[in-house]
Amino acid sequence: MINVKELTKRYARTTAVDHISFEVAKGQIVGFLGPNGAGKTTTMRMLTCFLPPSSGTATVAGFDVLEQPMEVKKRIGYLPETPPLYPEMETAEYLKFVGQLKGLSGAELQKRIDYVCERCSVADVRNKLLGKLSKGYRQRVGLAQAIIHNPDVLILDEPTAGLDPKQINETRDLIRRLAGSHTIILSTHILPEVEQTCEQVVIINKGKLVATDSVRNLQARARGAESVVLEVAGRNGNLETSTVQQKLERVSGVSRVLCKHQVGSRAFFEVESQKGRLVRGDLARVVVESGWDLNELRPAAMSLEEVFLQLTGKEKEKEAPAEVPAATGAQL
């Protein structure tokens, strides 16, 4: 549905998007992931024909964004970072205006307005001025506006930014429900959002493509081996971590044991094992038989967050999505 090849956008001093290539199949939800200023918005603007690429090509539904922008524009719905609302219009008026812009008219337009109002749950603010709506409603009217002409492709720039947790969940649900009939690209710097909503993820950083794969594969890829976190406590108030480490290392299948930290007589260990070997039972037995308490034993599943930080080359300790100031001129 969407085919991006070597897409590049250069500004006077910076390169906002640097030779990005990826593909999106019909009906998929793709998460576009990256810290602020990574080039997400710029890429989306090129896909929506708002900005022309400096080099490379992008086709949407088989039409090139530079050669046939009109055909592309007919087939995409776009929700920019701030929903493009006219404060002096009422919701229904606004949707009618956008519908007309996209080429709808008459009974069909009326039907679509009713449909999107219901779908995006904005029916109760139909006759309210857009300028008076709360942030959550504005975002939903923005979404309604994007799907009014039933486009093949939906491009959503940070659709959940600035919403409260309840609204975020509602918006995610809505996006998931839309997925069947539309191909969706959504950008975000919030990782759980991608884990929850998207099937496919495209990670970019500083304008460059870092990874593109399915969410599950990415997690597995970054993990490589299985690892387990253990919390061990000594019964009589002291614990020799080196003894524990040695004993754990002797369990068959274990490749590496790390003592993460120790608090009094309690110590945390991370045990890596060879792929496909289940060592948890053996580890537990060794700990208990040696006379220690086993307080906790859990698989250390790597969250997408860690994958992301690993891929974008940052310290694990650093707080996730670091607020990198947008220096690439992605703002208009």
Partner: protein, 254 residues
Amino acid sequence: MRNAWIICRKELHSYFVSPVAYVLLTLWGVVFGYFFWAELGVFLKYSMESQMSGQMYPMNLNEQVIRPLLQNVAVIGLFFLPMITMRLFAEEKRTGTIELLATSPIRDLEIIIGKWMAAMLLYCCLLLFTVVHFLFLFKYGNPDWKPVLIAYLGLLLEAGAMLAIGTFISSLTKNQIIAGATTFAVLILLWVLAWSDFSNAGWAHVLSYMSLVTHSESFMRGVIDLKDGIYYATLIFLGLFFTARSMESLRWRS
């Protein structure tokens, strides 16, 4: 053309839903009302004097009331038109709604023409205010209506040119105040270019020929001069053409 009309309706809607249109119409009504009252008062005083002295001065409603008033309409317009055009593109650029227009299947030119048409229609509403006043002159006097009609045509062309320039300037910035002030300065300069006629040098004539006023004179006298019509048409075309270029550059720069 359907798309231009959609944009035009939307612009008119925002003029008339916000107080903008009503404030402009009210202020215009007050200002023009005063001009009309003062101009007619002078005329009435002359006619009284002429009766009292027993001599018949040549009195003419067209030349002594209507023409100076319509010339003043153009001058008042100079102050009002920047307020009509300043928000056209600046506002959309500031709030980001320009992204909606630019990613919809609609041509830049259709957006521009739609917005310019809306500005023209609002100006027509202002002109309607003046028509109401003149209707009284037609009721109680007997002026010739043909030169009045031609003068109105001239006013429309002149305003069309000024609005096209304002539209262009509005597309250059996202700040309405900057757009309004710059438009005002440019229009005033274009207006007073006529004064450079004091010099006999060739360039002075060219400058003066470029003035907005020079070309309205024949219309005001009730004469349609093709070269003046073409002058205004050219300005309208250039203004809208540069707006289109400016919109395009927005995409390449931003």
